[in-house]
Amino acid sequence: MKSSRAYLNRIFEFVIEKAIFLAGILSIVFVFLIFLFLIKEGFSLFRTYSIFSFLFGTKWYPISSPPQFGIVPLLLGSVAVTLGAILIAVPLGIGSAIYIAEIAPRWLREILKATVEFLAAIPSIVLGFIGLVTLAPLVKKLFHLPTGLTALSGSIMLAFMAMPTIVSMMEDAFTAVPKSYREGALALGATRWEMIRRVLLPASASGMLAAIMLGIGRVIGETMAVLMITGNAARIPTGLTQPVRTMTATIAAEMGEAVQGGNHYFALFAIGIVLFIITFLINVTASFLVRSQRK
């Protein structure tokens, strides 16, 4: 009797163990398969179209004859929007993270943290829509532009999306700085701001960088909001107040009509590879920074 129960238990253990193992392996397998598929489809473009003209071409005319698949305008479009978003989100993010971690009283801190997390829960298309009807006209009016559908509007919108990531990760980094550092500085007669500037910020520098990197990762992959609000003109941007076309928006807008197995279709996958590599590098850098902070 007793031994048969032990036997059942052992089988149960075994099944659970293997099931968990399978689940773990599956996620790796899926990632690998997705990457493989991306590579296979993307590289098909380069059988008939030179990789050099793809990477360095300045014109994106995928349905002309002959088509031109130069991703420079799209790449720079993504960079412009992302850079703009980071320029806005980082100072704001640092400010609000410091306020939440160091200055706000506890009740307010809880409210603020919840609010920031709530911001993360707003679907990007909703933010995009709000941006389209409120932000774009405002940008147009403020800068006297022919249109509000510009990289700047996209940047502001994306800054909102990156903020939750940046704020909550930075707040963690600040909280991880030992209390003794703060008190050590304060005991020397440092004011709160001096303590923050001389002790808190240097001590959490790598955590802050990681937060920024992850914010960038979040922003560069964002699609719907930029599709709606950046104007999608595939030209090389020379300023933030111009319309730009990002890589993500291009894929989303053109995938529907691209003939499966055609060069346009392959080119969109090739853009996917470029995006994948960029976000991969960003994430690796971020996790490297997080790890180096833990040490």
Binding site: R106, P178, S180, Y181, E183, G184, A185, L186, A187, L188, G189, A190, T191, E194, R198, V199, P202, A203
Partner: protein, 254 residues
């Protein structure tokens, strides 16, 4: 000691609360100028709370409240000083040596720089004098640019003392400064304290009654947030008035 010593710090009817918990109960205490006052007592006696109230670090704690008043040279420290001005006058040394994540030199120069001393020609002598006063100069003079974290625990604690001296305080508060140190380092820290006696008023919170006996001029015994007894150190250790003091210093509890 001098009978009519000048009073540096007056503590009047001080009660301190964390939320509903009363950690100090109506404490009256005078600290004389340039004495070393030891504060002893078992865990939860309120010793550390007293120090943190003295240099206003307690204000950072959630739910902190206090009654009564503390006068430094006759001025109420919660009303007549800003918290950072007060902490400049009342330096504090913590139980765990907290060297900032900077070089040895920058750790010492940190305070003076905060208060506007920027020139290297002015900083250099301050750094040297502070390190000498804390008995650390000889050990580190050739590697001032090394990260302070690389120093041993005892060296780091003396670095913290030197760092506090660099801002030229009038009072130094020690919160169990030797609790994490080996006997040799402890001796060196105690030696530094004795050397500083001529210039500074020092308050030493310690769990080590022997250390109190070795270093201090007077000793205050706290129990459950109350000041039980304060007197000349030899008296506390040889003929205390209160039975509970006697029990504690002879090691019968605590």
């Amino acid at each position: 000691m001098v009978d009519k010593a000048k009073i540096k710090i007056e503590i009047r009817n001080l009660s301190v609360f964390y939320g509903s918990l009363e950690v100090l109960k109506g404490v009256n205490l005078d600290v004389e100028e340039k004495e070393i006052l030891a504060v002893i007592g078992p865990a939860n006696s309120g010793k550390t709370s007293l120090l943190r109230t003295l240099n206003r670090l307690n204000e950072r704690n959630e739910g902190f409240r206090m009654q009564g008043e503390i006068l430094l040279d006759g001025r109420n420290i919660y009303k007549k000083y800003s918290s950072d001005d007060l902490r400049r006058v009342m330096g504090m040394i913590f139980a765990l040596p907290v060297s900032l994540p900077l070089s040895i030199y920058d750790n010492i120069a940190y305070g003076p720089r905060l208060h506007g001393v920027k020139k290297k020609s002015e900083l250099d002598p301050i750094v040297r004098q502070s390190l000498e006063a804390a008995f650390l100069w000889e050990e580190v003079k050739d590697r001032l640019n090394l990260p302070a974290m690389k120093l041993s625990g005892g060296q780091q604690q003396r670095l913290c003392i030197a760092r506090t001296l660099a801002i030229e305080p009038e009072v130094i508060l020690y919160d169990e400064p030797c609790s994490g140190l080996d006997p040799v380092s402890t001796t060196k820290v105690e030696e530094a304290m004795r050397q500083l006696k001529n210039q500074y008023t020092q308050i030493l919170v310690t769990n080590n009654t022997k250390q109190a006996a070795r270093v201090s001029d007077r000793t205050a015994f706290f129990l459950m947030g109350e000041l039980i007894e304060i007197d000349r150190t030899e008296k506390i250790f040889t003929a205390p008035r209160d039975q509970r003091t006697d029990d504690y210093v002879t090691g019968r509890f605590g």
